[in-house]
């Protein structure tokens, strides 16, 4: 904390982590809405991109290029697991679907651990500029600004595309009523795969935004904690998705900011309350679950399609 205006710094950190939660949540929501599968393997799929990124940057490829080359790996993992596994089981059997999602998460996180070796810490080269800027008397690290801005830009770009493009409309049609969509000539299988592909790309992107930049100027580190089936950031991402009732994307993005800001701003709270920082995500999620947020965002028809 370098004096000046710590509130601004803390808020910015909250915003940047919130943007990443939101981006993760967008992918979760897109996949859930379109195919009715809550992707517990979201984090593990994104990890594959991170592993590829580490390998590529170590081979001397510049960060930007490595990001572009490594994203298709997450896409392939997501689409592949949907085509080969998720699609083959009945959506109605929720237990089996969740068990399979867990198995896929375990598979990809183990593959990532295998590829990384067993170091407790793996260094990641940052690909966004790492400098400091001074705004209104507060010394801010530029990469947090850029992370937040990039995540928001990606999210908005995606939302606009989802709203306006033909593909986005087809995806929404499949989400609302798969049978009617098929009758209208929309290939449900194809668009489900597109949803998984884009969702997985978002997972890879959000991990690549946050992990190389978390430790600031030295570049990020990937700890053994993050190479687990459900990384440290997936729980707030579930929470962010719940803000939008697991189906509403703009609200999921807002939810991401709520979770990010709530966690960081509690640092400023007086003594007994700042202890809540580590469990605030859990508390918020319980509240959201009790509110049954999905009823605010789904029409009856859509709910039935998801629960069928």
């Amino acid at each position: 904390m370098s004096g000046g205006a710590p509130v601004v710094e803390i808020a910015l950190f909250g915003l940047s982590s919130g943007a990443v939660f939101g981006l993760l949540a967008l992918g979760l929501v897109l996949i859930y809405r379109t195919t009715g599968i809550m992707n517990f393997a979201h984090w593990a799929i994104g990890l594959l991109s991170v592993v590829a990124y580490i390998g590529l940057t170590a081979a001397g490829i510049p960060g930007w290029g490595a990001v572009i080359i490594s994203l298709p790996l997450a896409v392939a993992a997501g689409v592949g697991s949907y085509r080969l596994v998720f699609r083959k089981v009945s959506r109605a059997n929720q237990i089996i679907v969740i068990l399979i999602a867990i198995a896929v998460a375990q598979l990809f996180s183990s593959l990532a651990a295998f590829a990384l070796g067993f170091d407790a810490f793996t260094r990641l080269a940052p690909w966004l500029p790492v400098t400091q800027v001074t705004i209104a008397g507060a010394v801010l690290s530029a990469n947090e600004l850029i992370t937040a801005a990039a995540a928001v830009a990606i999210a908005f770009g995606f939302l606009v595309w989802f709203r306006l493009s033909t593909t986005g409309r087809a995806l929404r049609a499949v989400a609302q009523n798969p049978e009617a969509a098929m009758l209208a000539g929309i290939d449900e299988a194809k668009y489900s795969q597109i949803a998984w592909g884009i969702g997985s790309a978002l997972a890879g992107l959000s991990l690549l935004l946050v992990l190389p930049h978390v430790a600031g100027e030295q570049g990020g580190v990937l700890t053994a904690f993050e190479v687990s089936p459900l990384g440290t950031l997936l729980i707030p991402a579930f929470g962010a998705a719940l803000v939008g009732g697991l189906v509403n994307m703009p609200m999921a993005l807002v939810g991401g900011f709520v979770f990010g800001l709530a966690r960081e701003l509690l640092i400023l709270a007086p003594a007994p309350w700042n202890g809540l920082r580590s469990s605030i995500a859990a508390i918020l999620i319980v509240v959201l679950l009790l509110l049954r947020t999905e009823r605010f965002f789904t029409v009856r028809q859509e709910r039935e399609a998801l629960e069928a």
């Binding site: 596994v85 109605a92 929720q94 969740i98 867990i102 598979l107 687990s228 990384g231 859990a282 319980v286």
Partner: protein
């Protein structure tokens, strides 16, 4: 209530098992009993290492039984079985190290201590659909890790409590072979009880709730209560498993129960039980056998996380796609084959077991 009327199979394929009426002793039971006896002696073939691994298998099976009741019987996805085991381990540690209780009193206390946790988690979330419950339990594990497992009065600080292995009167059970036999007996009793639960009135109510809540309600089953009871029983089983885990490790450090390690371990438990067969008590046992033996044979904790993780995940995906009843289902099919064509069936069964035991023996010899 007759078994035929109880549940009509819904259109979608549910988990495969159905509750059957209790039967008299059949050849199947005799084979199972002989198999268990053989299992009790099996570790001896591998020397000290065999008993060392055997204890882990039994303790993992005990914690796995909680997944059988909660997910297999009642159809609730709980991603926090290892947190319950942690509560059990901490309570055992506190009772033994700071109040001087013997293990035989501390272990039941560990089971009982999980009840409030189950009730709070259950009352808040059991009305939720499967997916939401999974998120709720994931979150609850996170919350416990940040509160209870960081509370020094409960955990004995960073290093945890020191736990001594129990003695049965004058008989000392602290050596690996003796402790293995103790865990075998305890796990065997629990498997028998959980199997009994399946065919009981309560177990059938759980199956009915799992297959179709509305139908279960129409049959006069209190859905909320049934789910809550399943969670409580599951929590107690995991708590008891945690007590034995603490005795096995002779310590109870809190760090394995912090997020996200605890969720990863819980997921491992769900995975191993699903491999074994999620709706049968023996499934927990078979799953623990496969995963723990792999884990111990193929070396240290790190390598396990990668290689056995890949192996277990692939095995589970294949099983869920083609044999959702897991290894228990495969075993049952094998038993049917033996009944239809005794020579072929027996040869296949003996061959598969021999190859597996032989491979394990070879690897232990090499390492």
């Amino acid at each position: 209530m007759s078994a035929d009327v109880a549940v009509r199979r819904p259109a979608a394929e549910p988990l495969p098992a159905r509750p059957r009426a209790l039967r008299r002793l059949t050849p199947g039971h005799v084979v199972a009993l002989l198999g268990l006896l053989a299992l009790a002696a099996l570790p001896a073939a591998f020397g000290d290492f065999g008993f060392f691994v055997g204890q882990y298998v039994m303790v993992y099976a005990m914690v796995g039984l909680s997944v059988v009741v909660v997910t297999g019987y009642a159809g609730l996805i709980s991603l926090m079985p290892y947190s319950f085991a942690g509560v059990g381990a901490m309570v055992t540690g506190a009772a033994m190290a700071s109040w001087g209780w013997p293990f035989w009193l501390a272990a039941p206390l560990a089971a009982v201590a999980t009840v409030p946790v189950s009730v709070i988690v259950g009352a808040a979330s059991v009305r939720l659909r499967g997916l939401y419950l999974a998120i709720a339990t994931l979150t609850a594990a996170d919350f416990l890790g940040e509160t209870f497992f960081r509370w020094d009065a409960a955990t004995g600080g960073e290093t945890g409590w020191t736990v001594t292995r129990p003695a049965l009167g004058p008989i000392d059970l602290s050596g690996d072979p003796a402790f293995y036999l103790l865990t075998l007996v305890a796990a065997g009793l629990l498997v028998w009880m959980v199997e009994g639960l399946r065919t009981s009135r309560l177990g059938r109510a759980m199956y009915a709730v799992r297959d179709n809540e509305i139908e279960a309600q129409a049959l006069g089953i209190n859905v909320f209560k049934t789910k809550l009871v399943a969670l409580v029983i599951g929590g107690m089983l995991a708590g008891l498993g945690g007590a034995f885990l603490a005795a096995l490790l002779v310590t109870s450090a809190p760090s394995p129960f912090w997020s996200p390690v605890v969720q990863a371990t819980s997921i491992l438990f769900v995975t191993l039980v699903a491999i074994g067969g999620i709706d049968r008590a023996l499934g927990a046992f078979f799953g623990a056998l496969v995963v723990v033996v792999q884990q111990q044979i193929f070396g240290g904790a790190e390598f396990f996380f990668a290689f056995v993780g890949i192996y277990a995940a692939l095995l589970l995906i294949v099983l869920l796609r083609f044999r959702p009843g897991g290894l228990v289902q495969i075993g049952r099919m094998q038993w049917q084959l033996i009944q239809r064509r005794p020579a072929v069936g027996t040869a296949v069964a003996v061959g598969v077991i021999a190859v597996n035991v032989g491979l394990a023996w070879l690897f232990v010899g090499l390492s």
